[in-house]
């Protein structure tokens, strides 16, 4: 079973992660994202509510998505990240680039 759900509606793709965003998931998720970008998505929202771990491969995927959307004026948003992941992305200077927001308390 894929550990993510992708929806597409009105130029917006949304990706709900059902677990960690790490090297093990990246190939399958990349394939899914290619399809939604091919449909014409201009913006992508990644919901990390259920994600406890993000590694450098996962970060690479998020950056690749942002790089793909930038030429058409689109953006990536990464939402509901845990405090650990927020600090990690902050330390890697990626919170602005990826429009990262934390979980509501």
């Amino acid at each position: 079973m894929a550990a993510f759900v992708i929806d597409y509606k009105e130029l917006q793709g949304s990706v709900q992660l059902l677990g960690d965003l790490t090297a093990a998931l990246v190939p399958d998720l990349q394939a899914g994202l290619k399809q939604v970008l091919h449909k014409g998505a201009r913006n992508l929202v990644f919901d990390l509510t259920s994600t406890k771990m993000l590694d450098s491969s996962g970060m690479g995927l998020l950056i690749a998505a942002a790089n793909s959307l930038a030429p058409i004026g689109g953006k990536v948003r990464v939402t509901n990240v845990s405090p650990d992941i927020f600090r990690l992305l902050q330390s890697m200077r990626l919170t602005l680039r990826l429009n990262v927001s934390g979980r509501a308390v």
């Binding site: 090297a23 950056i63 330390s91």
Partner: protein
């Protein structure tokens, strides 16, 4: 106490074939070891360091050759946690690699940056096929809190 200062209250070692699936399984085992031994507050950084070390060992060190092995050792004491990963590759010029930085547009090359972010001390053996990382429990994350 060991020369590096950590009491071995927790000691774990596992050898795996050099393949991504085995590395992923080992990462989840490391998470379990940390959580069942009262080390949950350090679970995120230590598991992340293990993931990056194992990914480098599988992909770069052993060149995705499943005939080669990787050994991970984890030792935790009162003040520090030590993680060591050894592969069977020829090693690499770690001094040169550690000087590289990654822009916010680059999609790869952050593994070594993460070592310096979370580890209090990093040591490679001479040829670069063994890395030892020390994590200071008082410094929970790489940004000082």
């Amino acid at each position: 106490m060991s020369p590096s200062g950590e009491h071995a209250a927790v000691s774990f070692e596992q050898k795996i074939p050099s393949c991504a699936d085995d590395a992923e399984s080992l990462c989840l085992i490391v998470r379990g070891v940390l959580q069942t031994n009262g080390l949950s507050p350090y679970s995120f950084p230590i598991e992340l360091l293990a993931r990056e070390c194992l990914a480098n060992a599988v992909n770069h060190g052993n060149g995705n050759d499943p005939a080669k092995s990787i050994v991970l050792q984890l030792r935790a004491g009162r003040a520090r946690i030590r993680l060591q990963v050894t592969d069977e590759g020829a090693g690499f010029d770690w001094q040169k690699a550690m000087q590289k930085t990654s822009s916010t547009r680059k999609t790869s090359g952050r593994g070594l940056q993460l070592y310096t972010l979370y580890a209090a001390r990093i040591r490679f053996n001479r040829c670069g096929n063994r890395i030892t990382l020390w994590f200071d429990k008082k410094k929970r994350t790489g940004n000082g809190d």
